[in-house]
């Protein structure tokens, strides 16, 4: 039995503008239910709709659309129900909707000739995306700095409230640092989803999906996968959540599995660091390598999709049946609401999963506690002597150095340090030593953490690395292995870059994958295949470069 129903005749403003006149009363009689013209964009008719809904629910009468049933009466053959329905819809539309112009969609068609053209459409799409990403990175810098500043300030305020010790370290470094490190990407995510919602509302996104479909189907991905893969360049978490638009389960799972291969914002600090080590004085080569890193991520993602389509998730990509809606003026309000929804989900993740992971990794890097080494005691004693002799600058710098030595020693002996050393034999063929190993372990909170970890293990305190990032590069460049050879050779740096492009390191992503696929199996597969891929690629790069005599 059909529940009490009200028909909302939406976009009535657009129909008016097109010269379409709809006989609302006549339609209501024919359908046997109230028909309310509304515009969700302008708010017209919303109150009428609420009132009509109220009345219909009050009356609670079972509907009896006699005309409708009579129209559908023929059930003699299989095709009839559909045929009848189409005849009926045509008749009703003819009787109650009068349009002045023959072709109200003339402009839409003209624009579509360009925007869905195989070449022109692709060029238009790439331009739109380039502008969007430029704006995202431009507009996000100020709020990102603000959030970063906010968390640093919060950290120092909390540090004043809580006496120095484990609790302070947990609050400041573990919780505030960990959650702050992820929430910094919130502005990018908000701006991305705001733009995507605007583009969707204009009707352009359907055209873009249509254009991309031609290319993506060859790999086995549906056109609808492209928006999630695009958002993955900001952060894989909202991208995986937005794969819900893909109807087919296989297509959706493949998109989820490859989304983290796209270079997300958290990789940018790592790329920047490694590329600065590789090409300190060649900005052209540096920019090219940066672009190359993005291309490798996309290329590997498509390759992975290609392979999965032929192995674990076989099947043709579902052909895209897509309605190209009319172009419309986008509603800013709808875009804001969409953005608000996405932001809220992201913050929820940061407040739960990311918080938990931050605390676990903080514990790994903090415990077990080690004794302060004799060297540090000596340095402090010397600093005290200097201070007594009146050399306050010398004393201050020596104290700082002592604190740094202590941090370095503590990290090396922590569980994270032990893990780094435990994995060293496995990492050596990639050109990584155990110090880089620690960085990889701590990266499981968030990739960019390797930058601050390396700052601690290689000669600069983490505070100084932030004050003068130059000194971090200098220290890393001059860092030596036990045998006196430099740590960051060209081969090691390239190997590290490839590793960070491909490795699955953000555990929060796996948690979201598990939630969206409904099974830990897929999350585990994602973690394993990406890291195997990263290991293999780094191995090949490092060994090839070494074999070619580039070290």
């Amino acid at each position: 039995m059909t529940p009490p129903t009200v028909l909302a005749l939406n976009m009535i403003d657009a129909a008016d503008a097109d010269g379409i006149k709809i006989d609302v009363a006549g339609l209501a009689i024919e359908l046997g239910c109230p028909v309310i013209p509304v515009s969700a964009r302008t708010g017209r008719g919303i109150d009428d709709l609420k009132r009509a809904l109220d009345e219909t629910l009050d009356n609670h009468t079972a509907r009896n659309p006699t005309t409708l049933q009579a129209a559908m009466a023929c059930h003699a053959c299989a095709i009839c129900p559909f045929q009848n329905r189409y005849t009926w819809t045509e008749g009703v539309a003819k009787r109650h909707a009068k349009s002045k112009t023959e072709k109200p969609d003339r402009h839409t068609e003209a624009i579509d000739r360009i925007l869905t053209h195989p070449v022109g459409g692709l060029a238009a799409f790439l331009s739109v995306m380039a502008v969007m990403f430029y704006l995202i990175f431009q507009l996000a810098t100020v709020p990102m700095d603000l959030i970063d500043h906010l968390f640093v300030t919060l950290g120092s305020v909390v540090a004043k409230w809580i006496p120095a010790g484990d609790l302070q370290s947990l609050a400041v470094n573990g919780i505030i640092g960990g959650v702050g490190g992820i929430l910094v990407f919130l502005p990018q995510i908000c701006i991305l989803f705001f733009f995507l919602a605007l583009l969707e509302d204009t009707g352009y996104l359907a055209r873009a999906a249509f254009v991309m479909e031609r290319l993506m189907r060859r790999i086995g991905l549906p056109g609808k996968a492209f928006v999630p893969l695009l958002s993955a360049h900001a952060c894989a978490i909202p991208a995986i959540m937005s794969t819900r638009v893909i109807e087919d389960r296989r297509d959706r799972f493949i998109t989820i599995l490859i989304a983290p291969l796209m270079s997300c914002s958290a990789r940018i600090p790592v790329y920047t660091l490694v590329i600065a080590l590789l090409f300190p004085r060649q900005p052209g080569l540096a920019a090219l390598t940066f672009l190359g890193a993005y291309a490798v991520g996309i290329g590997m993602g498509l390759l992975a999709a290609f392979v999965m389509k032929r192995t674990i998730l076989p099947g043709e990509a579902r052909p895209l049946v897509l309605e190209l809606p009319r172009y419309r003026i986008p509603g800013v309000r709808t875009a804001f609401l969409h953005m608000y929804d996405q932001a809220r989900m992201f913050i929820k993740q940061a407040g739960t999963v990311i918080l938990l992971i931050s605390i676990i990794l903080w514990a790994l890097a903090t415990y077990p506690k080690s004794e302060t080494p004799q060297e540090v005691h000596d340095m402090r004693a010397e600093a005290a002597q200097l201070a007594a002799a009146g050399d306050t600058d010398g004393a201050a710098s020596l104290t700082k150095e002592a604190a740094h030595h202590e941090d370095q020693y503590a990290l090396a002996n922590s569980y994270a340090g032990r893990l780094g050393r435990f994995f060293e034999p496995a990492l050596a063929p990639l050109g990584f030593n155990w110090q880089i190993g620690i960085g990889i372990v701590t990266s499981f909170a968030a990739r960019e953490v390797i930058v601050s970890t390396l700052a601690v293990v290689y000669g600069v305190g983490s505070d100084r690395a932030e004050e003068e990032p130059k000194s971090l590069y200098d220290n890393l460049r001059s860092a030596k292995r036990a045998d006196g050879s430099p740590v960051f050779t060209t081969a090691t740096a390239f190997s590290l870059l490839i590793f960070y492009i491909l490795a699955a390191q953000c555990l929060a992503t796996q948690v979201v994958t598990r939630k969206e696929t409904g099974s830990w199996k897929w999350a585990a597969l994602q973690l394993v295949y990406m890291n195997v891929l990263a290991y293999a690629a780094s191995f090949v790069i490092y060994q090839t470069l070494r074999a070619c005599g580039i070290s």
Binding site: T2, L31, P81, R244, R333
Partner: protein
Amino acid sequence: MIAPGATLEQPVRRCVSRVVLLGNPNAGKTSLFNMLSGLRAKTANFPGTTVSHRMAKLETAGRTVHLIDLPGLYSLQPTTPEERVAAGAFKGDSSIGPKPDGAILVVDATNLERNLFLVSQALEHDTPDRSRAQHD
């Protein structure tokens, strides 16, 4: 209806109704949902699925309405999980949720004829469809 012995005072408890929003993709269903609900919407999954829907409480003159935004669909013969859930929620499949007390059919006024296909099915969905044949 007023129960015997009840006073004629304004009842304190308001009637609560479940209302679903049903419509074609691109009919502006979500925009209408947003307009009706503002920032009060919550996102949740249908039980046992990864298909999500948005829900909001809405106060009208007479009652509290639990408004549910269903995934868009072209017909009540579902071909995808999303459509299956949307059709099931409208029909009141027990696996998906209680039967709705009412429905708002959202129709694109600029595209009336195409949108009426779903309308015709929704307004008489208890009529058995003899055909399970796919149509193009």
